[in-house]
């Protein structure tokens, strides 16, 4: 993974001191809350319902074991012993004191981490395929380009006061594990016919109040021009994006209002006039960054480990976990392991300091000291020898991180909702907990198959409900918590937005509604190989509406 050099280190240290000064000025009264708020927000520090919340960037979801141990330490020393992994591959601490935040940042800087641009109307932490560097069929490690974007976007002097926040995601396989189409910019690495490296550039996706799927504005952009092209998109947006209405200020609205063709023309025209060599990185710098993402020293192993195969055949519980939580690796004899942060009845995405420390140890032992954070709020060890899977499974089970439910109905995404978030209309976490407990029977879970349930506590859609196979949105009906259900959303390479199925359900009825949807699917699917999403796409919403509302 990327390691800071003296410049990277200096920048982060400068930032710590700058923020220390800002906090001091706030505490001394030199800055009012009004003046301080945008400053703290540019550093990921929110004031939530019960306390401050500090959001820490985990660029493209990659952590070293030392970094994860540091997060555990911060959780214990400055917070309440846990952290929350978010749908943007970040980590949130829910209880830091304002006066401690400069010290927290100083501790983070020791392990090459920061909270820069984790909020505010700027280019946010760039996200990536969480299986980067391990996934089969990858063009090259997308994190090379994420790191290039991370550096370019950090304190970009022109783009720190955009009309609204701006999110970029990068992948390098046909399969989309990073939800490209719901990002302001989605970049898919590919090669053209001549073998040249480049990107498909998608612009204008997003969730929130007006969900939109991004449109491809350039099927192929030579990779070396990535930064100048991004700069052209951002400048076009900065100058033309709406600033009069919070809900119309994302780039998706601009693309929609001028039309994708005209938007593309504006970007291309701006790009044509830019001095590319000043903006794009010299090849030597790209190579320098690329070198940091060289594959780890894999052992030469047979494609299939005999001992692992034997165990899998002999131990159904192990086999179940492998089927749900282990994915194929591009390197023979290796596997990718997802650590479920969705224990049945638990809080999606939460990890205790003890779990973090233990996962760091396991990463050192089994996965070259590297941990990934997925946008589905799980962790992953992506370079595990098949022969180690049995031992790892045992260790994870002791940590309550081996629930065999990845990609299944209880692998629920849930935003913090009204338990923490000051913008929320309703709680998300308790709903996730109740659904998860209702569906926890493992045979049934496996029988239902792939099913993505995503819950947001308000229309901001941090819980990605628009792209859930079943999406659940908390709404406030006269002071009561209600939940609106959408069906048929998807965030993968076949991205689609969910459709509202009908009137919202009360908190008591929401678990029943999910169970009814699942029962309807089971009764109508062609067979176990027809996934929920495929069945929904084939049969449409009517049978579900019928089952949910006919009795009333």
């Amino acid at each position: 993974m990327y390691q800071y050099d003296a410049h990277d280190r200096q920048l982060v240290l400068d930032r710590v001191e700058q923020f220390r000064g800002q906090v001091q000025r706030r505490l001394s009264g030199e800055l009012s809350e009004e003046e301080f708020k945008p400053l703290r927000l540019m550093n990921g520090l929110y004031l939530q319902l019960h306390a401050y919340m500090l959001r820490i960037a985990i660029p493209y979801g990659t952590l070293s074991s030392a970094q994860l141990r540091k997060l555990a330490h911060i959780a214990r020393r400055y917070d309440r012993g846990y952290g929350h992994f978010t749908t943007r591959q970040n980590l949130q601490f829910n209880w830091p004191a304002l006066a401690d935040t400069p010290d927290i940042l100083a501790e983070l800087a020791e392990v090459e981490m920061h909270a820069i641009q984790t909020s505010g109307n700027c280019i946010r932490n760039v996200t990536a395929d969480h299986f980067a560097g391990a996934a089969a069929g990858e063009i090259e490690d997308p994190r090379i380009w994420c790191e290039i974007i991370r550096q370019w976007s950090t304190f970009h002097p022109e783009f720190s006061f955009l009309p609204r926040k701006f999110k970029i995601a990068v992948t390098a396989t046909e399969q989309d594990r990073a939800a490209l189409r719901v990002h302001d910019i989605g970049l898919r690495l590919l090669r053209d016919h001549a073998g040249q490296l480049g990107f498909e550039v998608m612009v204008g996706g997003g969730q929130g109040r007006t969900p939109v799927l991004a449109k491809t504005i350039r099927p192929f952009l030579a990779a070396e021009h990535l930064l100048s092209y991004l700069e052209a998109i951002l400048r076009t947006y900065n100058l033309l994006g709406r600033r009069d209405n919070l809900y119309k200020s994302r780039i998706k609205i601009l693309v929609d209002s001028v039309g994708p063709e005209e938007f593309t023309r504006l970007v291309e025209e701006e790009w044509r006039q830019m001095p590319h060599d000043r903006i794009d990185l010299p090849e030597a710098e790209i190579q320098r960054i690329r070198a940091h993402f060289a594959p780890p020293p894999f052992e030469a192993l047979p494609q299939r480990d005999a001992e692992f195969e034997l165990r899998r055949r002999g131990d159904p519980a192990f086999a179940r976990w492998v089927r749900a939580n282990v994915s194929p690796h591009k390197q023979p004899g290796y596997a990718i392991v997802t650590l479920s942060l969705k224990p049945h009845g638990g809080i999606p995405g939460d990890a205790t300091a003890e779990q973090m420390d233990a996962v760091a140890d396991l990463a050192d032992r089994y996965s070259f000291g590297e941990i990934r954070v997925t946008h589905e709020q799980n962790l992953a060890l992506v370079h595990v020898r098949q022969r180690d899977l049995g031992a790892l499974w045992h260790s994870l089970a002791e940590l309550n991180l081996a629930t065999p439910n990845v990609g299944l109905a209880t692998d629920i995404i849930a935003c913090p909702g009204l338990d923490y978030c000051s913008l929320a209309n309703a709680r998300s976490i308790p709903v996730a907990q109740r659904i998860s407990l209702a569906l926890q029977d493992l045979d049934r879970l496996t029988g239902v198959g792939e099913l993505k349930i995503k819950i947001s506590g308000c229309i901001n859609a941090c819980g990605h409900h628009h792209v859930g196979h079943i999406g659940i949105l908390g709404v406030d009906k006269k002071g009561e918590e209600f939940y609106q259900i959408t069906l048929g959303g998807s965030a993968d390479e076949t991205a689609s937005l969910g459709e509202i199925v009908g009137p919202a359900f009360s908190s008591e009825r929401v678990v029943w509604a999910v169970e009814t949807i699942i029962a309807t699917y089971l009764s109508l699917r062609r067979g176990p190989e027809e996934r929920f999403l495929d069945a929904y796409r084939r049969i449409g919403p009517d049978p579900f509406k019928e089952a949910l509302y006919a009795a009333h």
Partner: protein, 96 residues
């Protein structure tokens, strides 16, 4: 007009606080000073403004409450959660 209490988040640590009868910002809603009527509410707002200027709290505002056998109860659900903390155990995972 419902009875009102003034609440805010404490500047240094963000904790939920209420203005008490003896003019302190306290974490327990039970100890909050309850205003009946406009004049009393205006006095709470004025005290809130002073606390902002004095760098004690951030963004104070009035909330509506009822007084019953269980003590002071905010009317809005959101405020009930603010008063009691998250409705879930902290930490999930092993503790959950």
């Amino acid at each position: 007009m419902a009875a009102q209490v003034i609440t805010a988040n404490r500047l240094v640590d963000g904790a939920v606080v209420y203005l008490s009868a003896d003019g302190q910002w306290v974490q327990s809603l039970e100890e909050a000073s309850v205003a009946e009527g406009e004049a009393a509410a205006a006095a709470l707002v004025a005290a809130g403004d002073r606390a902002v200027a004095g760098r004690l709290v951030v963004a104070p505002y009035l909330i509506e409450v009822d007084r019953g056998p269980e003590g002071i109860q905010p009317r809005r659900y959101r405020e009930r959660l603010r008063a009691t903390g998250p409705s879930i155990p902290f930490g999930g995972g092993m503790k959950g």
